[in-house]
Amino acid sequence: MKILVTAKRVEDPESKIKVKPDGSGIVQEGLKYKINPFDEIGVEEGLRLVAKHQGEVVVVSIGGKEVQEQLRHALAMGAHRAVWVNHTGPLDQLGIAGLLQKVVEKEKPDMVILGKQSIDDDQNQVGQYLAEFLGWGQATFASKVESLESEQEKNKVPALVVGADGKTVRVVREVDNGLATLECQLPAIVTTDLRLNQPRYASLPGIMKAKSKPIEELTPAKLGVDVTPAIQVLKMSAPPARKAGIKVADVPALVEKLHNEAKVV
């Protein structure tokens, strides 16, 4: 089975994001970059599925030449080869889904696994757009029933269950008030939630091997996609700061404040 996974380049989730004084964007200096954590979970799930069912994991990223770092990271984890859509400049979710659609039509995977959202834009849209563009089924926010400290997780059992005939995938989804289970005909789109798996670390031999794995370069022009954005970010600002609070000495003092000052109890 062939699985296409995504690897968006995003700011390290631990880094402090600050808005530029003129509101035109965020301060780039001193930031570290990583693979989007949700995408990394997608890479891991793809690797587990292929370990169980044979096949190949192809990783795709869109951006300038710096996104090759994220592609190499996924290759070092064990992905077999990479597709790099070389594009600099603004891109919105319609554009991203349009580019991925063309890559999917070229690669013809059985499944595409994407992060449910990227931790920069936090839009949570691309998987669903892509599913509609392709006319495929979608199972978003894939999760697993067991905890991330369970035996299944330690043994790297995939949480997505492919049917015996290889034509369907069963996905448990995190929804409001519980867990919903769907069965999608393949090919299908799956997006990952945090509790799907614990991504592996790249091993040293993995990192060495990744250096010689192929990265195919494409461009929006080659794929025939107009990526003029329809979403314009006019201005960015820092969220309003909360006024500084106080530390109270003990519980009676806390209750007094909550009762008489905040008036919430």
Binding site: V19, Q125, G137, S147, T181, A230, R242, G245
Partner: protein
């Protein structure tokens, strides 16, 4: 005249989800700013009964589409059903609350309408044809002012940022329509509800949350929650560890809450957790580590062991009654 279409949501038990009324309140705001009118849509197997409940909330019309194929919610069947309605109404704006269903459905619907979309909208700005959307990025560390340039504009709404619409605003006309039914490549298998006697996390007036500091022992968290009639929340770390169900997770990647009182016990305050609760009106932090980032957003902090503080707090609160 611009048309604003808000999608209502039924819970698995058939009742309307509370966030629907916040979304209608937001839709009314948008309609006023854009100089347009508000419409509400509800689709399902037999939505007629609850559709009547939507009449008095200030919409021009409530559109009800019934089909047996729509018994279980699936993005693949709901998107075409709602897209045809949006097209018939010539809707300019199509929105829904940022619930799990809203997040799953709206991008697929937007793709069908060839529309750009804004997720987790917190406010509308400007007016007339130039309405813009305010939304969070980078886990709420940045607020962005966003303009969508496609003819149809799709969005989901962060329900906690909008006041729920109030009833008694005259009766909207209830119109039925025949939803477009398409074969789905996806089959609903089952839904396992996590039942709780406590209020829903996103709807509670008070939330008591536990983090790593609980070491997985939520008894005191739950006891305090029950004393206060509160919902129980948790940080990502304790959900990942499997100590509590993941649907208790508060944070950018979990639930976003904004209760009148948020009590964080044994939670250090990672950026992603803060993004999910810092709009709360009053925040209390209980943590052994005086340097924990949670104290930077807390109105009242106590540096102490939660297992000492929580029982005492429960007893003191009991005295107020």
């Amino acid at each position: 005249m611009p048309i604003v279409l808000i999608i209502a949501e039924q819970q698995p038990d058939g009742h309307l989800r509370k966030a629907t009324f916040n979304a209608i309140g937001a839709g009314k705001q948008l309609a006023d700013k854009a100089g347009g009118e508000l419409h509400v849509a509800l689709v399902g197997k037999d939505p007629g009964k609850v559709a009547d409940e939507l009449k008095g909330y200030g919409a021009k019309a409530v559109h009800v589409g019934a089909a047996p194929e729509l018994e279980h919610y699936l993005a693949e069947t709901y998107a075409p059903a709602l897209a045809t309605l949006a097209q018939e109404l010539k809707a300019d704006y199509v929105g829904m609350a940022s619930t799990a269903q809203g997040k799953d459905l709206m991008p697929r619907l937007a793709a069908r309408l060839r529309a750009a979309m804004a997720t987790d909208v917190m406010a509308f700005n400007g007016g007339g044809a130039d309405v813009t959307f305010s939304r969070p990025m980078w886990a709420g560390n940045v607020f962005a002012e966003v303009k969508l340039t496609t003819p149809v504009k799709v969005f989901t709404l962060r329900a906690t940022e909008f006041t729920a619409a109030q009833g008694g605003q005259g009766a909207a006309e209830v119109k039925t329509f025949t939803p477009k039914v398409e074969a789905s490549k996806t089959k609903f298998v089952d839904f396992k509800e996590v039942k709780s006697a406590r209020p829903e996390l996103t709807e509670a007036r008070v939330v008591v949350s536990g983090g790593r500091g609980t070491k997985g022992d939520f008894k005191e968290i739950e006891a305090l929650a029950d004393e206060l009639g509160a919902a129980v929340g948790a940080s990502r770390a304790v959900c990942d560890a499997g100590w509590v169900p993941n649907d208790l997770q508060v944070g950018q990647t979990g639930k976003v809450v904004a209760p009148a009182l948020y009590i964080a016990a044994g939670i250090s305050g990672a950026i992603q957790h803060l993004a999910g609760m810092k709009s709360s009106k009053t925040i209390v932090a209980i943590n052994k580590d005086p340097e924990a980032p949670i104290f930077q957003v807390a109105d009242y902090g106590i540096v102490a062991d939660l297992f000492k503080v929580l029982p005492e707090l429960r007893a003191e609160l009991g005295k107020l009654k």
